[in-house]
Amino acid sequence: MSQVVFSSWGGKVVDNRKGGEADLASLKIKLPEKYLNEGKIGAFFGWDGLLVMNRDVDIVALAAEYMKRVQEKYCCAKCSPGKRGTKVLQDTLARILSGHGEERDLTVIAEINSLLEQCKCTLCMTSAKPVQDALTHYRDDFEAYIRGERKPNPAKVYHDKVTAPCTDRCPAHIDIPAYVEEIKDYRFDESLASVRRNMPIPAVCGRVCPHPCEKGCRRGLVDEPVSIMVLKRVASDHEWLHHKEPPMLPGQKKGKKIAVVGAGPAGLTCSYYLLLEGYDVTMFDMLPEPGGTVAVGIPDYRMPRHLLRRDVEIIRSLGAEIRYNTKLGRDMSLRELKEEYDAVFLGTGAFKSKPMGVEGEDAGYEGFSTGGINYLRAVALGQPIETPKRVIVVGGGNTAIDCVRVALREGAEDSILVYRRTRKEMPAEPYEVDDADEENVQFEFLRNPTRLIAENGKVVGVEVVEMALGEPDESGRRRPAPVPGSEYVIPCDLVIPAIGQDPDLSYLEDGDYGIKQTRWNSIVTHGGTMMTDNEGIFAGGDCEYGAMTVVLAVGHGRRAARVIDRYLTEGKAYLDEEDAMEDIFSSLGVFDDNEDVGIIGGLHREHQPKVDGAERAQNYDEIELAMPESQAVREAERCLRCYRVGMVAID
């Protein structure tokens, strides 16, 4: 691990220039030692201060370069202190570096640094922080330049990127402050274009994203997080509700073909960005319709399928072919795809339901579902399945919640969720649990199934055991343990296990592709490139990560498309500056939940209207209604536009 020469990161100054030792790990700073294969990271200069790992780094040159990039590449110019203040800083630092500085320049730098506190957003504001830290702690270096005693010694190369806490927390790294600000400015089309730069299924992610971004929203430190996800829906709905043609056009034809397996979020996203680059894309999907888990795993009352299909149609119309009812490993082999196409992307999802490990599970009883995901799919595809009067769903995640709620809509009178911990520990989104509650779903918390009870080969109940919560486990949730002798039977007609899904990688089973799998049954890819061990075959989404979120799959799909493009044009699968810096920021962390933002709060988050009451569980109409645009503008006003720039100096 890199030794730290100096650090003002995280609000704590560590100065080892005159002795003393610390490494990044001991400071709990997760900065990689190297920048890809280019060299060691000598210093990191960014919003929270500066981090110096190599004592030879020229701090004055670093500060001057940083401010030049902030001013010329990132400063939006939309506030007076930022626009001109960072320019004065840039020129002053450059003058010092060129040996023409004066002592009073240091006063000007400090004055401007302080004035940048008044900026409209945090981009220029936070850019003052490392400069001021450098001036404070490396003042001798500045003065040496002013006295003409030093010549610049810049690093081999600098890499920079702008980010924001929300953007960093979003697995698709959407430029959230941009699209929120564009809504504030009544520029809905531009807002949607900003979303689409990183995410091509906005109608979906504007509705069903678990929005990890909002947990990284600095407004939340003041009052409540900005309703980031809903604002994305507003931008997407605006286009739809105005019958607007999306402006994207396919790129100039490159004459190369790519097979994308799976038309779910990962595959759709990968296809979209490849189409924009001019590749010929053929998508294969085992289902009769597009969307993957979004189509057959998320019920229509959360994600109306006509809007999913609109998002898909926009992508398809850029020139993709989609072959439905075509399953990899059954209708074609990976080898065939590899031979026929220039590259292959695997976005096959995670469709294999995890077993509960209870007695009777494998007995083939009538009334025992093969899994929540299969139940949801059968309903979504209109397959002839019957939902009886009393249904038990086992699990605490989103799929379990979807199952109990769908069962109600399919005619169940009692829809019961059995979960081994309490409501608080449920991995499902709390608002969805509340929604289920409102629809009269029954909850059996602290219960774990132990045995299926069947009569004449038909399930009539589930034996459960009461659980008690013990010490927290590695996930931080208290570990449930059975209370001996507390078993009893809950009668029911159908049991749906919904405790998780795994990827079905049976198409890899003949073993001659060299594609490695993890011990959790997912595909191994390398270094953030999304390329598998078989060159030219890429993978992303649930089949790579294990069952996760739509937005993670989108992030994977986009990254894969970018790398595939480089692979096919340059013969090399590698990360560019944007990718690499994105990953460095993700590892370092951008959101600081201890920050004192120092502004007035008291503005409540706006909520979209909703269909209330248990009656809504009688149909599949969308429950969450569109937020009026004026309300969305008001909500967007709450955004603090928390941009910040980080830069690494490479030795």
């Binding site: 010329e72 990132y74 939309k78 626009k83 000007v108 409209k120 008291g602 503005l603 645009e629 503008v633």
Partner: protein, 856 residues
Amino acid sequence: MVNLKIDGKAVQIEKGATILAAAEKVGIKIPTLCYLKKISPTGACRICVVEIAGVSKPMTACNTPAVEGMEVTTQSENLTTIRKQIIELLLVNHPLDCPVCDAAGECDLQDICYGQEVNRQEFEADNLSHEPIEEWPLIQQVPSRCVLCEKCVKVCHEVVGASAMVVRSKGDRAFIDTVDGKPLDCEFCGNCVAVCPTGTLIEKPFKFKARPWELSLTRTVCTLCSAQCEIDVNVKQGKIARITSVDGETINDGSLCVGGRFGYGYVASEKRLTRPALRKDGMTLETDWEGALSAVSEKIQNLKGEAGAAALAGLASPRLSNEENYLFQKLFRAAIGCNNIDSEARFGLLPATQILGKSLGLKGGSNRIDRITEAKAVLAFGDVTSEAPAVDWQIEKACRKNDGKLIVAGLRKVKLTKYANASLICRPGSEVWLANALAKLIVDAGQADKDYLQRYVENVDELYAYLASLDLDEAVKQTGLARELLEEAADYLGSAPSVAVVMASDLLRGTDAEAAVSAVATLALVSGALHGDIGGLFPLDEKGNTQGLLDMGVAPELLPGQKSYADSASVASAWGVTLPSDGKDAHGILEGIEKGEIRFLYLAACNPLASFPEAGRWRKALQKLDFLVVQDILASELTEMAHVVLPGAAAVEKSGTVTSFDQRINTLKPAVNPPGEAKVDLEIFAALYTHLSARPVEVDFSSLQSEIRQLSGLYTEVCRTDAAGICACNKEAFRPADKSMTFYPAQGGGVSKELELLTATSLYHFGTSTTFSPAACEVAESGYVALSPEDAQEAGVADGSRVKVTSSFGATQADVVVDNDLPKGLAFAPTNFSALNVQSLLSSSANRVAVKVAKS
């Protein structure tokens, strides 16, 4: 409500209001630079920072909402330092060209420097300012003077909806540019210039013309269109230097359009008529007023004696004031004894207003223009933007800021289409089908307010029965619109709690206009547009005072107050005369001239050759007249033909009142004098009246206005008469009496299969007047015929081809513009250009005609 304290003063203000608004409420002035009330807050300049107790950072007052219990400090040493330093930064590389900067004297940057005592500047940086941009029409951009407040960008995007400007580039290189980086090509309303706090954006026609303190301002109204925005005419040494308007206190909230801001050039045109002229022996020679008026009155007397008063006729104009129109009709009816009077309203607003009167009891727009902004659904039929830009801004506010749904209907894509939730472009001739189908869908969906209809519509059962019998499939076939789209649009209108329906000339002057207006009246009824205080039904006329002209009774069938001429007894007795029994309208007058029955025509600010359909027929007819009187302001083909030319005055040269499409009565005040010996039209009518009657007629506004009020029963509301003399009447929304409204079924006609030429006003011109304005001509120099790409291909022509356009009424030559927004089968030509004279192609009853286009 929220309670807070500002500088120790307690304030209570509505939730969501900003600290700045709260401070304003208690008279505390917080300095601002980028703040502009009519746009969303920008927070760019950071000068309005204030301190809030318990919060470590100063916050901007312009965009921080007041929070309960907040304690705000607006003045402190720290705040002063911050404000000063920010201003100092703004001054870095700001050019010292104040002596020649247009904004000097009214520059917010100057004022804020002065106000905050910024008298030094300690920062420095390389100057990266972009070069001044000279190549934009009408507007110059000097980036070095810019403080990047974004007011221009935002007023353009949020208020006008042209969205022509962006902030280009990063950091200190950033400057205001056009969206595509090409020379500005927008609506040229100049609102960007108006809101610019510095001399960054400049009106080229005003540049170097005057220092602000040299200008005297007269508050009057713009009469180029029927919205009648309130303007300040800025005059230097008797000449108009520019037109401005003030935010907040005007009905247009300070916004102006290309006409209002840049169209005034015709007033000082060298084509202005400055002396009366008289034709003798084939020569037109200047004369004095006495000579001209005597010639006219003698001719009138002689002809009356020889052929009777019915041998005379007069056409008045929406360019004249209410009083002038009133006196005109009184002159003809009472002094001459002739009721052959009419105007160009015959071809649009007059029949529409009569239908709306007959069916709904309306005499004009049912509500005030600014009550459109709260409507939850707006149906705009035709090109509202070109005909009354101020209505466009109200619609945009309703539908872009206040969550209203916008349905744009008509034959072609227009500017508002880009903001539409549903764009209903129907086939020419299917307008009635479209309106009927929407009405039917609303009623079928149970969205009509049945209680309301029951109470106010006398034959509501007929309405239901008629709509029930309507064949939707046929409507789909005729309009060419998908049923789902019709249903969607109908749902927007049907489910909205308040609806505004605006009809522009594409509908009002269209083929089958009377049926179309009837059908829209029914749609307005069932959608609830006439119900409540918000929204309404608005027939637009592109000309300034058509509403006033109708109200004054300038039509053979109308008396003042739009009363029926058949009931003229009370007017006759008030005037102490016997009134002629009947009269001819414009159609009849034309025929009368052709037959030799009408031998004298008085054209008061009316040019049938430029603004009437069948212009070719009129041209021939006018040549047959014994005597043609042309009272106008600009020399034209018409003045060449006149026996007597009487130079009148432009609206900015006169007093009087005018009435907007929404029935607001507005006051004109003279800002400049008529040129040379030209006279205010009212004085001309009065002088002629004196010549023709035994006793002299005096121009006394108050007695004239009280006579108008008495006879018309209109204009009785007490108007605001503030120092500026303007009265944006506090017009109430229309309230029908029980069972006062009648449903009239409207039958859709056949849909045209030929290439149809649609004519309407250009976005950049208003009537023909502004074609005499150099500024307006800089952005729209001449007429053209626009064709869809398909039709252009079919005709074998391309952009710029010279073509001959022929209808069964006439032919003209024009340059082709290929317009991707036009549907196949529809061509378009602007009506404003005399040289194109597209009016000569039209039949007397429509703005649209089947044409053949061929290369010439």
